[in-house]
Symmetry: C2
Subunit: 701 residues, 2 copies
């Protein structure tokens, strides 16, 4: 895939220029300086040669075949340039030129035409509005960035050209190699999706790094990312996390979800390692590129100073990993080789005067210990410290089965050591906390790689019944599903729902109550009343026929006073659910990633504490259990002081049933089951109230 884009045999530059500083010149110069091996064809009607290469007035004048075309002419000439390139045989085009979608509707139109042209003729288009594409292993710098990094095994895709230049500059300063660096710009054709698939298969790429501001398709992204993450680490920084569009939501679930939550859920599902800061992007990527994944989360720390050792140990504990203790025999053996004042506890303190050999002894002992899954080596530049020699001494252990990360603190004194470390493929961090964060990312990714196979349960349900209800709603153009129908939908998906029925007069309400058994609850059924409680539209715990009759009459009286315009369909009478632990299950459809399932404990926990978790549908039983465990209030469910434990598997199955329902029926836009009443282990949980909103039917047609 994308061979002509990433490893072209020949390249034409349309708009090549002889004036240094102009993009048309710099692209050609960069290709030349980078050492691109294939034919290079500058095109410009008013030049004979550019950077020592013969320049052609038109690309069709060039006798050979063109594989990749790079366009740097002004926007109005881009279409013609692309057409000429395609005529000359180009299989891929990079349009560096800006001034398209990003400047307004006219640019967007031009961009669409360009994309349509390329797509129609089977040519892949990168851009427009990009820095270009770099492939170090192919000696290709088809960009206007001056740096060609050393060949390495991290590939970068970035939606921001400026971020690309900052990364290139930074990598140069850190002696870090890159495989490919791809600026994806406006993504008129080639997007992060194509690149995830391509880089997943690229043998020169060990780690994929992405800077994204948006994605073209949620579903396609998840598939591509999961595919890529199954083969190699994918580390992504998502910018624009707080600018979540405000969305009118009629459910709790909807109001608590947002783009940032959705991206989090999508990354989690697909195994993407999320970098929360820009610096974390490469902190993580270098660890992944240089070191093997850890088998567990027990971390040994080797240090020549107490203070940084404490900092590292704190960070390990705070991250949820654990500070490892050496096996006692090994600890004793190590102690016998170290000075008396050294400590073989963890941190292993080799003391301020530690020479390279002492470091090597300690690192080796830690790496060989079965109780240790990973080692962090900290060095502070003290009077006797030899940073570069120490780097070389520990580098002997860099290629093992367990990750080894370094934290050489300081500045100029440790600078030569940093270069040694990078050369030995030992990731190096400027602070203990950053080394620990990188290790935690490795631990989490390793856990994802070892996840059990995802088996989506399909419960036997009455799908036809739901189809009929939705069809009827659609005929009546009713987006809000009223409680009787919502309950019917849940019953069809085998939820336990209290026995109940709609009544149209008081005597009928009493009949229903007698049938289902007291106590009952009565609720108004009206398309115009969403918050029933606020309008006096709910009356709980009615124990007798006369109580039902009184409540019925009073409810209608009050609602007619408070909301004279509301259409009343009737009063729903149902058996009171037994008191139990109340939880909320819900679903909202993210515009990018589709159905997001929500779980939270009832009432205050959701409304005030926002103690909820989200997961993308479809969901497995294990995923659902993880959702429960992800809330702080989980302790309550299991049975905290004064609270009996609830049947947790009933909740997990409830979430799975919602997952199946909303996957079967994309027409369901949002839903809450609130409360979902969960009893003790073995008891059926009861969906006491439900709210379902369908998407607008016009959209479906």
């Amino acid at each position: 895939m994308l061979e002509s884009l990433l490893t072209p045999r020949s390249i034409a530059v349309i708009g090549a220029s002889r004036t240094p500083g102009k993009v048309g010149h710099d692209v050609v110069a960069n290709l030349v300086q980078g050492g691109f091996a294939g034919p290079l064809v500058p095109v410009n009607p008013s030049a004979d040669e550019v950077c020592g290469f013969k320049c052609y007035p038109k690309v069709s004048d060039y006798p050979g075949e063109i594989d990749l075309g790079v366009i740097v002419v002004p926007p109005k000439h881009v279409l013609a340039a692309a057409e000429n390139l395609i005529d000359a045989g180009a299989k891929a085009i990079i349009t560096i030129t800006a001034g398209f979608k990003e400047v307004g509707p006219e640019g967007a139109k031009l961009e669409a035409e360009l994309a349509a042209l390329c797509r129609g003729r089977g040519v892949r288009l990168m851009g427009p509005n990009v820095l270009g594409v770099i492939n170090t292993h192919h000696k290709m710098n088809a960009s206007f960035a001056h740096h060609l990094p050393k060949p390495g095994d991290i590939s970068v895709l970035s939606q921001s050209g400026a971020i690309c230049t900052a990364i290139l500059d930074w990598a140069a300063g850190r002696h870090l190699g890159l495989a490919k660096l791809i600026s994806i710009g406006n993504k008129a054709d080639v997007s992060e999706i194509d690149l995830l698939y391509t880089l997943a298969e690229d043998p020169e790429t060990r780690v994929i790094v992405g800077y994204l501001e948006s994605i073209v398709s949620g579903d396609a992204f998840i598939r591509a990312a999961e595919e890529a993450a199954s083969r190699k680490p994918v580390v992504i920084f998502k910018a624009g996390t707080t600018s979540a569009g405000v969305k009118a939501a009629s459910s709790h679930t909807g109001s608590l979800a947002g783009a940032n939550v959705a991206y989090g859920a999508a990354f989690k599902r697909s195994g993407v390692v999320r970098a929360d800061t820009f610096e974390a992007l490469f902190d993580y990527a270098t660890a992944f590129a240089m070191q093997p994944l850890p088998k567990g989360n027990r971390v040994a720390i080797v240090t020549n100073a107490g203070g940084p050792g404490i900092i590292a140990a704190d960070a390990v504990e705070n991250s949820g990993m654990s500070v490892a203790q050496l096996d006692s025999a090994r600890a004793q053996a190590l102690r016998s080789k170290l000075p008396a004042a050294a400590s073989v506890g963890n941190p292993i303190d080799v003391l301020g005067d530690a020479d390279p050999e002492r470091y090597a002894l300690a690192v080796q002992a830690a790496l060989e210990d079965d109780r240790v899954d990973a080692v962090i080596v900290i060095l502070t530049p003290q009077a006797m410290t030899k940073p570069a020699e120490t780097a070389r001494a520990i580098a002997r252990f860099a290629g093992g089965q367990k990750p080894l990360l370094a934290c050489f603190m300081g500045g100029s004194d440790v600078m030569p050591a940093r270069a040694e470390l990078v050369l030995s493929r030992l990731p190096d961090y400027t602070s203990p906390e950053r080394a620990v964060s990188a290790l935690k990312a490795m631990v989490d990714y390793a856990a994802w790689r070892n996840r059990p196979p995802r088996i989506i349960t399909r419960f036997p349900v009455n799908r036809r019944r739901v189809e009929r209800i939705i069809l009827r709603q659609s005929k009546l153009d009713l987006k809000q599903v009223l409680e009787p129908q919502a309950k019917d939908i849940l019953r069809a998906y085998d939820f336990t729902v209290p026995d109940g029925r709609i009544a149209y007069q008081a005597s009928e309400a009493v009949d229903v109550a007698e049938m289902v058994g007291y106590p009952v609850v009565i609720k108004v059924v009206s398309p115009d009343i969403i918050h029933k409680s606020d309008m006096g539209g709910v009356k709980l715990n009615l124990g007798t026929a006369s109580a039902v009759r009184d409540a019925y009459d009073l409810m209608l009286l009050r609602i007619k006073r408070l909301a004279p315009q509301a259409r009343i369909e009737g009063i729903y009478v149902e058996k009171m659910a037994m008191p139990a632990q109340e939880v909320i299950l819900g679903m909202t459809r993210d515009p990018q990633f589709g159905p997001m399932l929500m779980f939270g404990l009832g009432g205050i926990f959701v409304e005030v504490m926002k103690d909820v978790t989200f997961y993308l549908a479809p969901i497995t039983f294990d995923d659902a259990m993880q959702m429960l465990e992800g809330t702080k209030s989980y302790a309550l469910l299991k049975g905290a002081r004064g609270h009996a434990g609830a049947d947790i598997t009933e909740i997990a199955r409830g979430i799975q049933r919602i997952s199946q329902l909303v996957t079967d029926f994309p027409q369901i836009a949002e839903m809450d089951i609130n409360p979902f009443m969960v009893g003790p282990v073995g008891a059926k949980a009861v969906a006491a109230d439900a709210r379902i909103t369908l998407s607008s039917f016009e959209v479906k047609k």
Copy 2:
């Protein structure tokens, strides 16, 4: 204070050596190379000269006066060396030698003798076990660290010598100047307390930076830190935050508090800026040293690339600051001077080809705008970017009234610019997030500086009554205060407590119930039963005499079965408190910082969600309100959906009363009022249950 230590007129080095690499040599060499201007007196019986200075066999052989002595001889000779120095007139001694308290009891004894000697003769002792002391403005490097940093205005005190060397090395790499760097080691005499006072008054120090693992005294620390922070920023990194000692706690408050929480409360009280990571220490310090404090939290962002601008805006929003919008007239004026594609929204995007002048225009416009409190300038090194020239262009605005922070991203291309920025006193960060964090630290510190005066209310109380109760407990050696007495203590401090009395038989219980009025609650009173509910020792809501009688008999029967050994003092009968919002107020005494007050919403909010805040006593009304506002569940108190608002001032006053009680009575080790029942505005809150534990009486004697 500490003049002889920090600005000595003359220095003797006991244990001077001619062998490079030995500490005794390096200290002399560093003093010479640093350019120390006063007499320098190496002392060593077996050398004639060290580093070109005449060497004396004994310090008494030197004819002049010694101001500061530096000791590097082995531990066993240190006492004699100190004595000789004092005889020779030394007013301060730095003991670099290690091998004291940190190696065991013998070393601790020697250290105590050394400290006693110095204290007895009025000499200040720094160390033992230190790197040394550096004062750049005095051209003094009395340490064995090779780097003498440039003179600057940040002073560092560090409990870890290795951290000092890392900081020195790092500062050299960043072109950053320091004022003083002081390794405080074992703190046998001079500690962080002395240094906070001294550096607070030091005109050469604009910012105090501290790395601490422990403190010598909580109270003294808070006083010294508050004094220092009132004059200049104090930024501290506290290592060892997760190693909180496990402490047997009999109260909720005790079990939720810990050393880390206590340090947080102490820093907050005293205005210390806490660095949560090691890198944040200098990220913050450089901002404070170089730029003025902001007047508010509205941040303008100037950038030459969209991506990093988004990252910065996200970070600003996440931090709780706000992204500023320029005044519309000013925005229009700026727009007219920028290219059409530039954006004058916020971020202000000056585009990828921005020259230094364009940056200057945008920065100036942002700084001059009344709606902007601070400006962050982001630069990515793109093809046309001139980092160093841009640094110079914006440096013109560095000395203004509003903070200006830079984030020049990348590596080698922006390196020359970094040096320019530091020279112009513009703090520079490698990522937008770090710049934003530093700015947030400035905003928080500025808010602390502008805090209202702290007025501690003293309520009229019956202190004598509490004295008598505690005296009686002490005579009986009872640490646990039982409910009747605990309620008496609360009544004495004017808490509203339900009417109640202890009963010794069922008929008496009925009499009390008739007196206080139904419904009542009855509770067992026993020094052996702490968790009364778990033992069936609480019965709520008894509405009739027969209910009281039955409950009384049943309670005694059951408890005798469940806890036959428990001593039963009687059964406490009191009027049921009206249902209301339940909160918990509490206090636990931190070993370092003394009484820490706690607030949280009742039950689950404390036990499961740990949604609590702590504050050090004594507390003001404003502080107490901040405690309430610091919890997530605060929304509930104010009256969230379906919950009426509670009388918040009643809670704040309750916390103030506890503050007064535990300040008056240091014998109170821990207490909870749980639940504290808070009614609607205007209603008295009721202390429905209370648990008070006194400290062991032996300790008091």
